[in-house]
Symmetry: D2
Subunit: 225 residues, 4 copies
């Protein structure tokens, strides 16, 4: 049996949504002890509390999502605009800030963030709010990833798009022939990715296999970006 | 006399700070009627009120700044972290949102945003908060710029760095020999840019001279990024 | 009358094709003495000879083109693949190499290169050879631009796409309804750019107006990239 | 024992230099049958001949290198400039072109290219030729990777830098205290990467584990880019 994460304790946030389930499944199959949390970490103190009660961890997967708010520039409303930052950007900073000190003290550790490749290429012109928040996440990973690299802590992101998940590709969308046609023309691979394919990249990044990869935002999107 | 902006009415925000003064000076010298506002536009309703009382405008310069908050990842505090978004990201969206409808109706108009090239290259590892907020600004310009292009409205950014201004390069920094040495090694041009050089780029972008440039983030930093 | 280039002597290569004609027209209208050369500079010694016989120049426009060779990966043939490098990449290096020493000695000068934004975003999957050669041009501008910046010489590129010109958009293409429809959906501005719009950006970059812009590749493509 | 490449036949070019040796070692340890070729593939027909005599392969590692030619812009000489394209760019296209048809026919296969992250960030201002050739490689991978994705064939690159190897970091450089100091300040990880770390990324990319990663250029450089 494979056991590439034997003896590893890994915390996964929002483990019941987005890329949480396939990551938990694969990491456990590889021998990890997975702490599968389901809080959305919206409250400012929640990330620190989660890290505190999780005890010593070897790895952290920051999995945060929010259904994309779509609106033309002139129609953006404050509440859903701000909600994107509250659900994706601020909890990311707070969770990394809370988990990093123990990793720095131990001289190592790996943090994997699930973001989106949507800022890397022109998206639907109406996903402005979503793209802006995801871009802030990617910039945080690059910038804080540089800071943490100096302490041997690795912070990297998986910028995915067109990977099957219920938040962004609900069943009714997958039944829409126009969407299936769009997949064929827009995504070079011609299909949605499997969540298990994202889990494999997360496995690569969380383990020692990627020990010289720091502060990177890696696209996983069938060649779209 | 040059008068490349004759008969143009242009609104400049935070006109008394950052790149506001040199832009107002050059635009007026080129014949524009400049509405030089000095509100920081922190209040959610301020941008819409400003646009409403400004009347018809041909161009808009969104000039927003905040002294860079520097802290290691593990030392970031919530208040200054959030202040960066409140001062630079949210007012940008609100000001563009407020000004765009009239431009769309007229079938044209140009919006120039003053941001930073700091997210384009690795900065000091402690400017994480600043870099993240500026990256969100750049992503908003690219994404909303794409949406507005469909209506003939141009939204572009000047991503500057190492341009002389009191917010980021106060006199005491310029007197510091270590900083002057750092300029020489880090900035290929070997000097700080003049604010008037940024004003020239703003003039190029605000006028018809750049009529096929849409949704771009243009670096102005002596070759640094 | 405007005369932003009064007393300037500027050399333009391939002045009879691609962006040569509109640039020559505008630069002359702005008072420049333009040396409009028409050699394609394929021969290794041609660039040095051209620079030598041009005498003292203040600015240089390196305008090189070749109709895009389209072929699937498996169908690329050596001859047209190599021709792209011979027509666009090697003459660029040789022309910059020949012109830079006199500019360095005088402590200034500006070189503007006409490239393409096609490497910045996914193009037609069959323009592989063209995209690769244009990417090499862009990388050369960034890298040599950094080296030359240390000597006060500015080297920047205009990465255009969807700007009207007979090399890439011959009349028969413009009469094709499918191409016109593609313009509307792919180019946010919904139209081809005018060559005069590229000339305005070249004017901005060749003059003192852009004196703090070094080693940049600026997109001019109606928001496409 | 791990055997993630059991029953796989993989061709590795220049297997005796650069990242060849560690990749061959790891791939064989994972159960692959490795065809370790040592030709530099400079001759136009060599890549096709190599692919023809290799028979059916599941994966291909295009490992090409050349000691970086450093020269200021004004001092670049034609011969070493062209040698960079002859050794790194043209053989890459020819090898991919030769290997792709059989993979397309079988509906799958993975090609991993060893390039450099040097074009992604400002390098030494004198590595212009090297940076330009490596950028052409990266652009080819993105562009041809998009084309091949439509056929289920994955083409990705490892853009590494600061990974120990005798071509770019010979022993005398590693004994140089100034270089060791530069590592500490320039590379966030503060050290050279191990060749085995690049081999692990190549293993991830060559196998089914990365089955939704197409046309990507992934940095492996201790956070440098």
């Amino acid at each position: 049996m494979a056991s590439r994460l034997a003896d590893k304790r890994i915390l996964v946030t929002s483990a019941d949504t987005y890329m949480g389930p396939p990551i938990v499944t694969l990491f456990e199959a590889e021998g990890a002890e997975v702490l599968a949390d389901t809080d959305r970490l919206i409250e400012p103190d929640s990330p620190a509390e989660l890290v505190a009660r999780s005890g010593s961890i070897d790895g952290l997967v920051v999995n945060l999502d929010l259904a994309a708010y779509t609106a033309k520039t002139v129609d953006i409303e404050d509440e859903p605009w701000l909600a994107g930052f509250d659900a994706m950007v601020h909890p990311l900073m707070r969770t990394v800030r809370a988990a990093a000190p123990a990793m720095i003290e131990r001289g190592g550790g790996s943090i994997v963030v699930l973001t989106s490749s949507s800022p890397l290429r022109r998206m639907s012109p109406q996903a402005i709010s979503y793209v802006t928040a995801r871009a802030a996440q990617n910039a945080f990973v690059r910038s804080a990833g540089h800071d943490l690299a100096r302490h041997g802590v690795r912070l990297n992101a998986i910028a995915q798009n067109f990977v099957a998940n219920e938040t962004y590709y609900p069943p009714e969308m997958m039944d829409n022939p126009r969407f299936v046609e769009r997949l064929r023309t827009e995504v070079p691979a011609g299909r949605l990715g499997e969540p298990s394919e994202t889990a494999e990249l997360a496995l690569f990044l969380i383990g020692e296999t990627s020990s010289f990869v720091y502060g990177q935002v890696i696209s996983q999107d069938g060649g779209w970006s």
